[in-house]
């Protein structure tokens, strides 16, 4: 938070530093904790098959969408329409493949659809000057109507079992060197996003805008262009999730992407605890997603009713947030 500057250095030799350490590594401690817990509580959790399934089934899509969210949050904004980008990408992908186009062209069209959703946000936020929360909320609502109009009121678009190019299913189910394709995509994305945000001039400007927009502007940085680009990137990245999702389940369900939005926000902000200044960062986001994925999978294995799983996940997020914010607010007082 901008009011909490960086008192950590000053406090290094006080007894508080232990508490700070706990908070700083709250995500990692929580990860280790839930990992150990589920390993003991269930016999099936700590098997290579299950761990692989966590990565493929629970982790992949949320990780991609949370990385998209991390871009927007890094620039001091938020992107509530990530799910809309997922949906439009999914729709474009399915439609083009259905009408007989090549998978390659469909992928390009899907990525472009996601980027167009992002471009709409960019125009509203950087061009018109609407605050990100409302601009992306507006995009979400309009996108919802648009999808219902495109699908005669929200009917899913199924792909037939036969006659679909094998490359279509390869994205969701295939392997490269023994590694599932979705994981390869996520891995490359994480590396690319980290590099872009932390090792390029573009990334440094975005982070500067996120910390103190007015200062960044007075420093002569081109604010609007960078902010606009961030939302285009966010939509583009989210489109990857739409492609993988569609390839995995072979169906486009209108307005299904929004289910990821709140968890992506949760993961991104859980990830901020990993940085000393409480800033969003890609590794933190990935750990946040991993935490949510392990909890979702572990709770499933404990045989707990599906409904209790949601309670458990919510409680865990709550505790991690409480731990980190309790400490931050005590430092600022």
């Amino acid at each position: 938070m901008s009011t909490v500057a960086n008192p950590a250095i000053k406090d290094r030799f006080t007894p508080k530093s232990f508490g700070e350490g706990v908070v700083r590594y709250a995500v990692i401690i929580a990860l280790a904790g839930v990992f150990a817990f589920f390993s003991f509580a269930t016999s099936t959790f700590l098997t290579s098959a299950n761990l692989a399934s966590i990565l493929v089934n629970n982790f992949t899509l949320l990780a991609i969408i949370a990385v998209a969210m991390t871009f927007a949050v890094s620039a001091g904004g938020i992107d509530l329409s990530v799910g809309t980008a997922v949906d439009f990408a999914s729709f474009a992908f399915v439609s083009l493949v259905l009408s007989g186009h090549s998978v390659g062209l469909a992928v390009i069209a899907a990525l472009a659809s996601g980027a167009i959703v992002g471009l709409v946000n960019a125009l509203l936020i950087a061009g018109v000057g609407i605050t990100p929360f409302l601009a992306t909320l507006g995009t979400l609502f309009i996108g919802r109507s648009a999808q219902q109009l495109l699908t005669n009121g929200g009917n899913p678009v199924y792909l037939p079992q036969t006659g679909i190019p094998p490359l279509f299913g390869f994205i969701g189910h295939g392997h490269i060197l023994g590694i599932p394709v979705p994981l390869v995509i996520v891995g490359l994305l994480i590396i690319a996003a980290s590099t872009l945000l932390f090792s390029t001039r573009f990334g440094r400007v975005v982070l500067a805008i996120g910390v103190q927009q007015s200062v960044a502007r007075y420093s002569g940085l081109r604010i609007s262009g960078h902010i606009g680009l961030v939302y285009v990137i966010s939509g583009f990245v989210a489109a990857l999730a739409g492609i993988i999702l569609t390839s995995t389940v072979s169906v486009y369900i209108p307005n299904s992407g929004n289910a990821f939005m709140l968890n992506a926000i949760g993961a991104t902000f859980i990830g901020t605890t990993l940085s000393r200044e409480g800033r969003p960062n890609v590794p933190g986001t990935v750990l946040g997603v991993l935490l949510l994925s392990i909890v979702a999978n572990g709770l499933l294995l404990t045989g707990l009713s599906f409904y209790w799983q949601q309670v458990g996940t919510g409680l865990l997020i709550f505790i991690v947030l409480a731990a980190s914010f309790l400490n931050r607010s005590s430092r600022s007082d």
Partner: protein, 340 residues
């Protein structure tokens, strides 16, 4: 953290006189424009659907809007008390889930054989309890409201599923029959409930010292603190009030649907939009209870008008989206392009 995510544009401070007058004019145009747009919507539907502008239909719209209206008023209170910065300021994402759980508690108690004397306090207590949890999370733990209420929303939605096993628990009592019936002038009782609730909430928020303090705390917490106001208690109170609204909306929704609902989460975004739209109906572009009622009715009339004209209701969400963008774009342009 990158926490300066404002929901509403900040108000420009200072500026020379001509600029001030210009801004005032722009504000006037926007406010007048939004009322004009409201009137235009009503006129359009009245002309194209003769049944639209009848007392019965207007009463129906009011009745159908009661649940959304009560929730949006709860959120408005939180936004007033927390300021318009979404992350650091006030927002309550748990409201829709609150409605779901309160309704489930109410319906479950009724179907377990308890009377209204137990079920009504039960539902309201559920809502207040959720509000208290939010208040503790925000005020004591210092979790930013967007995240605190997001986590609480997950827990509450989960508890509702646990309680109902994702089924509709039906409930009917004499009290519910009265709530879902028609009152004087053939207007639904729910419509009267909405109007009375708005008047009560509006009286407290707009016309009492408590309401004034709520605005003071939201707009300038440091100044409010310096002036000796109990900032934390007022902010906590706003979340508890919002929780109470969730509980009340839960009861109304059981009356409206004759049982609990499994789709309460769908209400979240419409509630957020309705509460945020309320600013355009106020003179100084701040959220008000009356403004929230008007924006609730605007959404209600649009939905109703489309139904009467047999236009697909799928358009409603899109039109809500366009509305937000138009309104906020106008406000942003009015305050200058600086506030990206």
């Amino acid at each position: 953290m990158s926490s300066d995510i404002d929901t509403l544009p900040a108000y420009g401070s200072g500026g020379d006189t001509t600029k001030g007058i210009g801004r005032w004019l722009a504000g006037f145009a926007l406010r007048g424009g939004s009322l004009l747009a409201f009137a235009a919507v009503l006129t359009f539907f009245s002309v194209s659907a003769p049944f639209f502008f009848t007392l019965g239909n207007i009463g129906n719209v009011l009745g159908q809007s009661a649940i959304l209206g009560v929730l949006a008023i709860g959120l408005t209170i939180v936004i007033i008390g927390g300021g318009s910065n979404v992350v650091k300021g006030g927002i309550d994402l748990s409201l829709a889930a609150n409605l779901g759980l309160s309704a489930a508690v109410y319906a479950t108690l009724i179907s377990a054989g308890y009377g209204d004397s137990v079920a009504i306090p039960g539902a309201l207590a559920t809502g207040v309890l959720i509000g208290i949890v939010n208040a503790i999370a925000v005020v004591v733990f210092g979790i930013v409201p967007l995240l605190a209420t997001l986590a609480v929303m997950n827990v509450v939605a989960g508890l509702e599923l646990v309680l109902t096993q994702n089924t509709v628990v039906s409930a009917s009592t004499d009290f519910l029959s009265v709530l879902s019936s028609y009152g004087p002038f053939d207007i639904p009782v729910l419509a009267y409930v909405l109007v009375i609730f708005t008047v009560l909430a509006g009286a407290v928020v707009q016309f009492t010292p408590l309401g004034l303090r709520l605005y003071a705390v939201g707009e300038f917490p440091e100044a409010a603190r310096a002036a000796g106001l109990p900032v934390r208690r007022i902010v906590a109170g706003s979340y508890i009030a919002s929780g109470l609204c969730g509980g009340l909306a839960g009861i109304l929704s059981v009356a409206y649907l004759s049982g609990s609902t499994t789709g309460a989460g769908e209400m979240l975004l419409p509630v957020v939009v309705t509460a945020l739209l309320s600013v355009v109906f106020s003179r100084r572009l701040v959220p008000t209870i009356g403004g929230t009622l008007l924006s609730t009715l605007l959404v209600g009339f649009l939905t109703n008008g489309f139904q009467l004209l047999n236009i697909s209701s799928t358009l409603v969400s899109g039109i809500q989206g366009v509305l937000i963008l138009l309104v906020v774009a106008a406000t942003s342009l009015q305050h200058g392009k600086g506030a990206v």
